[in-house]
């Protein structure tokens, strides 16, 4: 099937099968799981993933074509976003064949929900400073510790967990990646309210949770390199969604603002022009990255520039929109006030703006790295988290 036909077929399928926006009662994941199963059976889940493990084995071109069509719809895929964007690709890249056979197809068919467990209260930007311990216990492992900023953990069946397995070596060298059963009674999930008032994140407590050694991903103490794979997929999945239809439902977009503001005022007009310029600049950059990807040029660390620019745009436009809208924007749950509360999230999640700038500097511009004081010191001698 050529790409035009592929795209046409995908669109027809989406029109016929996307559920309406009405929120059903009861379990919020039920509708998502039902949709995901249909998506899988129609061949639109895991489009580029290997056939052997349940994917379609197609190219980025088909994936982009489907994604372009999907921007016209609101697909109930949120609870699967971590599995599809991060933990699944990590298992495909780095898991054992047994792990791929066990986990990938149920993920793609929406039968199981995944979360990712890296960050801790004392280890955010510096995630390799994490303190959650995994200790050998016979043939398996016992995990204790605390994780934070975990999206969809309240629904998750499985988690991809990065834990410390050796404190006598430098911090990057004593980490191991595991798949942990989120349904185990030793796992406590508590919602964490963010500044917008929503509880999209959770904090997770592990109290002596057992993990069989078959659920270890990669070698013992090689967890950092597995985590790097996951984080690369994270940035790609964030930047891939950027700019294409992203302004569609944004109350602070030029299209939305021009409807509610007096555009005969030249000052208002010029502010809207500035917002348009910034929005278009980023949208075109994302389209260029997408075209390069289709042509086989992998964006790699340049995706961090797209993510940084999106974060800057969200901050700029929510700030601008509230200034233009005036006092009404800060009372009564005004959509622009809400946008202002959401705006910092993009600049913090998935790597802060400062971390993005480090990545661009180090890996795109190849600038000399910052000197490191913690690289050769055994973890137990570092001042990190609650360790003094």
């Amino acid at each position: 099937m050529n790409l035009t036909d592929y795209r046409r077929t995908a669109r027809a399928w989406l029109v016929a099968n996307t559920p309406s926006d009405d929120r059903p009662q009861g379990d919020p994941t039920a509708r998502a799981k039902e949709f995901m199963a249909k998506l899988y059976d129609a061949g639109y889940s895991g489009i580029t993933w290997p056939r052997q493990w349940g994917g379609q084995g197609l190219t980025q071109a088909e994936e982009r074509a489907f994604a372009a069509e999907a921007t016209h719809f609101t697909l109930p895929l949120y609870v699967f976003s971590i599995g599809l964007g991060m933990t699944g690709p990590t298992l495909v890249d780095r898991g054992t064949d047994e792990q791929r056979a066990r986990f990938v197809r149920p993920l793609l068919r929406g039968e199981e929900i995944w979360c990712q467990l890296f960050s801790e209260p004392g280890a955010g930007s510096d995630v390799a400073a994490l303190q959650t311990r995994a200790v050998r216990d016979g043939g398996g492992w016992i995990v204790s510790g605390q994780k934070v900023w975990t999206s969809v953990a309240q629904y998750a069946d499985w988690g991809l967990l990065l834990a410390r397995t050796d404190v006598d070596v430098p911090k990057h060298k004593g980490l191991t990646m595991f798949v942990v059963d989120m349904r185990h009674p030793g796992v406590t999930v508590r919602p964490l309210r963010d500044m917008s008032g929503r509880a999209n994140f959770n904090e997770i407590f592990f109290d002596d949770v057992p993990i069989p050694d078959e659920h270890r991903v990669g070698e013992v103490n090689d967890g950092w390199s597995v985590a790097v794979t996951t984080l690369l997929h994270e940035r790609l999945s964030i930047s891939a969604g950027v700019g294409m239809g992203g302004q569609k439902d944004n109350p602070a977009s030029v299209a939305a603002l021009r409807e509610v503001l007096d555009t005969s005022d030249p000052l208002v007009r010029d502010e809207l022009v500035e917002l348009h310029i910034r929005s278009r600049a980023l949208a075109l950059f994302n389209q260029r990255l997408a075209q390069e990807t289709n042509a086989g040029v992998f964006p790699g660390a340049r995706g961090s520039a797209a993510k940084l620019l999106l974060a800057e745009l969200y901050l700029f436009q929510a700030d601008l929109a509230t200034r233009l809208a005036g006092p009404a924007s800060v009372v009564g749950g005004h959509p622009l006030g809400h946008a202002l509360s959401l705006a910092p999230g993009m600049a913090l999640g998935g790597g802060t703006n400062e971390i993005m700038r480090n990545i661009i500097g180090d890996r795109v511009l190849n600038l000399p790295p910052e000197p490191r004081v913690d690289k050769t010191v055994p973890f137990k001698d570092l001042k990190v988290g609650t360790q003094t």
Binding site: I277, F285, Q291, A305, I360
Partner: protein, 347 residues
């Protein structure tokens, strides 16, 4: 919409880059215009006729290719009338008289374009000939160009004329320009003989000039960023390379983000000029509104990050800084582009 270069376009870029690297390296640009370089650029590389249609002796290429070339001439801070001649060729493509276009394509003449206001009056219009009078305060490469292309007012509307700048009735005065690498001139015409090219050009000439200039600006900002990134890898302060400090690294990362967006906009605007005339007015205004500013900001920060050495006359940093500012205001004050953008958005 096509935002990535084809294999042929990448080869064109490599060829122009290699030529300019050898024929017009940065240390040479302070010497100003070298007619020999312009002759080889037109002759060996055929670049003066790049966008001239094949039937008039050109290569018949599009703005996508022109943008690739102007990016390189911009990066090299190429002195001389290449951009001015390109501007003239863009306007000449819209008039019935194509003879000058062929002369440009064959590299026989360099030309320049008076824009955007109409400052000349044409008298004694008879067929192809007229006399023109008036003063043009700032003409790009006015001392180097052989021919001036300009609109002129008659009793009966506006026409396009061409004037031999070395001819009688023409007084040219070189201006002291901020940009040390490319000149401008004041041109006074007192009953100078002119050739009538046809009625005034419409059809988005101004938009195409904006796209061409944005491509040059993209090259200027890329070269400026490259220069400071290279310096940040060798310059040491307090026992460390300056590029390892976040105070420097983060600024360079932001400059890189501007460059990525500027390139995306230039590719888009060039594509619109070639393939999608309906999108061109907005794309062209966007190109000048974004790229003009971004180019100056990057050139400014590249100078500042060099430290004191960047403030010296002998260092090249100020050449980029001054070219960037000159380019930013070349087609009028930047608010003009923002106003056109607002208009094209229906705001």
């Amino acid at each position: 919409m096509k935002l990535v270069l084809s294999q042929e376009q990448r080869e064109l870029r490599a060829a122009v880059r290699a030529f300019l690297g050898a024929a017009s390296p940065l240390p040479k640009v302070r010497e100003g215009y070298d007619p020999e370089v312009y002759a080889r650029l037109s002759g060996e590389l055929g670049l003066s006729g790049l966008i001239v249609a094949e039937e008039y002796g050109g290569a018949g290429a599009g703005f996508a290719e022109l943008a690739v070339v102007l990016e390189e001439t911009g990066a090299a801070l190429l002195p001389g009338p290449f951009l001015a001649t390109t501007f003239a060729a863009i306007a000449l493509a819209e008039v019935p008289d194509k003879e000058l276009l062929t002369a440009i394509a064959e590299g026989r003449i360099a030309a320049t374009l008076a824009q955007p206001s109409i400052d000349l009056i044409a008298d004694e219009v008879a067929g192809e000939s007229a006399t023109v009078t008036g003063t043009l305060a700032q003409v790009l490469s006015g001392m180097e160009a052989d021919v001036l292309v300009s609109p002129a007012l008659t009793g009966d509307g506006v026409i396009m004329v061409a004037v031999e700048l070395a001819g009688e009735g023409v007084t040219r005065t070189a201006l002291e320009t901020l940009d040390l690498t490319r000149g401008q001139a004041r041109v006074e015409l007192a009953g100078a003989r002119a050739r009538v090219l046809g009625p005034r050009t419409e059809g988005g000439v101004g938009d195409r000039l904006a796209v061409a200039l944005a491509a040059e600006q993209l090259g200027v900002m890329r070269a400026a960023l490259d220069a400071i990134v290279a310096y940040a890898k060798v310059r040491v302060t307090f026992g460390r390379y300056i590029g390892s400090y976040q105070g420097v690294k983060h600024k360079l990362a932001d400059m890189h983000c501007k460059l990525e967006q500027a390139e995306s906009i230039v590719r888009y605007a060039a594509w619109a000029a070639d393939e999608s005339p309906g999108e061109l007015p907005e794309a062209a205004a966007l190109a000048q509104a974004y790229v003009g500013r971004a180019c100056f900001e990057v050139a400014r920060d590249h100078l500042l990050l060099h430290g004191g050495i960047g403030y010296t006359w002998e260092h090249d940093a100020h050449l980029f800084y001054k070219r960037a500012k000159t380019d930013e205001v070349l087609l009028g004050p930047p608010r003009v582009h923002r106003a056109r953008l607002a208009e094209s958005l229906g705001l």
